[in-house]
Amino acid sequence: MTTFAEAITDGYTQAMEMDKSVICFGLGIDDPKGIFGTTLGLKEKFGEERVFDVPTSENALTGIGIGASLNGIRPVMSHQRLDFFLLAMDQLVNNAAKWHYMFGSQSSVPITIRLIVGRGWGQGPTHSQNLQAWFAHVPGLKVVMPSMAADAKGLLLSSIFDDNPVVFIEHRWLHNLKGDVPAGDYRVPIGKAQRLRKGSDISIVAFSYMTIEALHAIEVLEKQGISCDLIDLRSISPIDWEMIFESVKKTGRLIALDTGPEICSVAGEIVAQVSMECFDVLKQAPQRLALPQFPTPTSLALTKVFYKKAEDIIELAGKMLEKDIDLKSFQRSKDFLHDVPGDWFKGPF
């Protein structure tokens, strides 16, 4: 069993061993913490030409990655928080996303940009934003959001060797989750979702950390006789519409989950497309659970009501299927507070 963070290191290592043109850089990539443990040892292994720390200059560094990629380099860039990357929207959107199309398909930009989404321990308004919908909105980008360790590795390798810009979003609360991770050059195709649970009453479409909450919820729901199809999207651009539509055609019911604010969200897009494409099979109004349309508060007391969790999924599914669900059967660990993913997490960031 490997942690999600170790799976990322594994992915880097595999890619850098296979292809000398892979380089990686980002703030603190070679520091003692190694970006939450995801890049430890890379510099020692591959040298400081290929693994290097950088100035705090997010916009230029994105353009620098783009430029290097135009000459055959495959840069993997990292940002310890997605929020910091707001400084680089110009290079990402005006250059990376458009380069291949606007120059008549002659050059492409094979860059990978890792963005880490914070949560809990008072990350607050500027250290916990989930702006994946922005990236999904922009033509020309690919966007992946793995939730399982194996997918983290498999999608990282696919992202690095994809000839297009890929935004690779990691949720901080996934870094310590463990799973079996295939060795070697393991790839997960970008754009393909994975069915994690098979069921007939309701389709739950999730990605990133919300997949974990969905798994918790489904345990309870199944016990109460509600059979759930769980689709872990893994990629949110392109989205695996086929698997979603197929599932909804079977269940007639949809809950779309999202880690970001609800208006113009990825979950909203899923509700919209399902409504447009599967209207005739829908048994009732499709639903979504996403973040409230507010900045993230910092206080422990306020994040408790701010985030959506397994209980909310259970409640919504119960309401849709008109079952009274006894939530007492669901007990989260009492060993730690709601603002950490487990007792391994003690801040400070």
Binding site: G28, P32, V54, H127
Partner: protein, 327 residues
């Protein structure tokens, strides 16, 4: 003789501020592992001189903006200690109502306008405050605190350029503590770069100083603020200093390998508070007894503030869904 007297009393005031900042930071460090302060927290122990000097020199109506490492700047400017600690505890009575945490402080009663957690993010905000001062024709000053890392952001350069073009009453103060998180200057800025000289050539009168020499810090900031009040032009000051504890969190971290124990020790030997204390004792501006009293008073104030923070209420659930817009 008269100026000397005057300096003596402001120096004691400044010394008190430095002490208050140090005692507060160390108290946070000591209690952090009770896991009651649940937010990223950047302590400034070792860097107190600049914050305290600014606080001593500025008027209440002068503006200050700051960054992630803001406790000292907030307290220096006269920010409310209880409210700061309550904020770090996530309490309703916190200076930002529990919405901001350690990285988002404000105390509008003393024109501490805000500190934020995006590197470089408040630099243009301070320049904008400078613009508003010029438009209002008051003779306030707007002070922007920033680190050496923040000078690498394009927005720093853009902001300096604009302040120079528009001739705005802004004082930029860069505390160069050699590191950005664990990254030394060498991987971030060209060898031989002098930040203050660079800023000079961008178009703002600049100076460099020893950030652990409280007297020097005071003099340089005093002169800059006076000059700005007179001619309304921006100034830039860079002070060399050193953060004692880890980048974020309560611990010392010389063991993890990004900096040496010797480097740390050499800076610690130049503790700005100890150096200032020695100077004030030599100058007879202060006595050992006064120092004891100052320490005891501050310790009491800090303890009380922690009691307040710990015992006061968390915000109500509904508060999370309040305050999106001003109505």
């Amino acid at each position: 003789m008269k100026t000397a007297k005057k300096n003596t009393s402001v120096f004691v005031q400044m010394y008190q501020l430095m002490k208050k900042i140090r005692i507060t930071e160390e108290a946070i460090a000591n209690r952090y592992s009770q896991w009651k302060m649940r937010c990223p927290t950047h302590l400034c122990s070792g860097q107190e001189a600049v914050a305290a000097a600014v606080g001593t020199i500025l008027r209440k109506d002068d503006f200050v903006v700051s960054m992630h490492r803001a406790h000292g700047h907030y307290l220096g400017k006269g920010g409310n200690l209880k409210k700061m600690l309550a904020e770090i505890h996530g309490k309703a009575g916190g200076c930002s109502g529990g919405k901001g945490g350690s990285m988002h402080l404000t105390d509008k009663s003393v024109n501490f306008m805000g500190s934020t957690a995006i590197v470089g993010g408040t630099i243009p905000i301070g320049v904008g405050l400078g613009l508003s001062i010029k438009l209002g024709k008051s003779n306030q000053v707007s002070v922007v605190f920033l680190g050496d890392g923040a000078t690498e952001e394009g927005v720093f350069y853009e902001s300096v350029n604009f302040a120079a073009v528009k001739k705005l009453p802004v004082l930029f103060i860069c505390e160069n503590n050699l590191y950005s998180v664990y990254s030394p200057l060498s991987v971030r800025q060209p060898v031989g770069r002098k930040i203050s000289e660079m800023v000079n050539s961008i178009g703002i009168e600049s100076e460099h100083g020893d950030g652990n020499n409280a007297g020097e810090v005071y003099d340089k900031i005093r002169r800059a603020v006076d000059a700005i009040r007179k001619d309304g032009l921006p100034r830039f000051l860079e002070f060399a200093t050193y953060r004692w504890r880890e980048h974020c969190g309560p611990n010392f971290d010389n063991d993890i390998g990004y900096r040496t124990e010797e480097e740390f020790e050499s800076w610690k030997r130049r503790d700005p508070i100890v150096l200032f204390e020695e100077k004030l004792l030599t100058d007879k501006a202060i006595s050992k007894k006064m120092i004891e009293k100052i320490e005891a008073d501050i310790q009491k104030e800090v303890d009380e503030a922690f009691d307040y923070a710990a015992s006061s209420d968390f915000p109500a659930d509904a508060d999370a869904f309040d305050g999106l817009y001003k109505n």
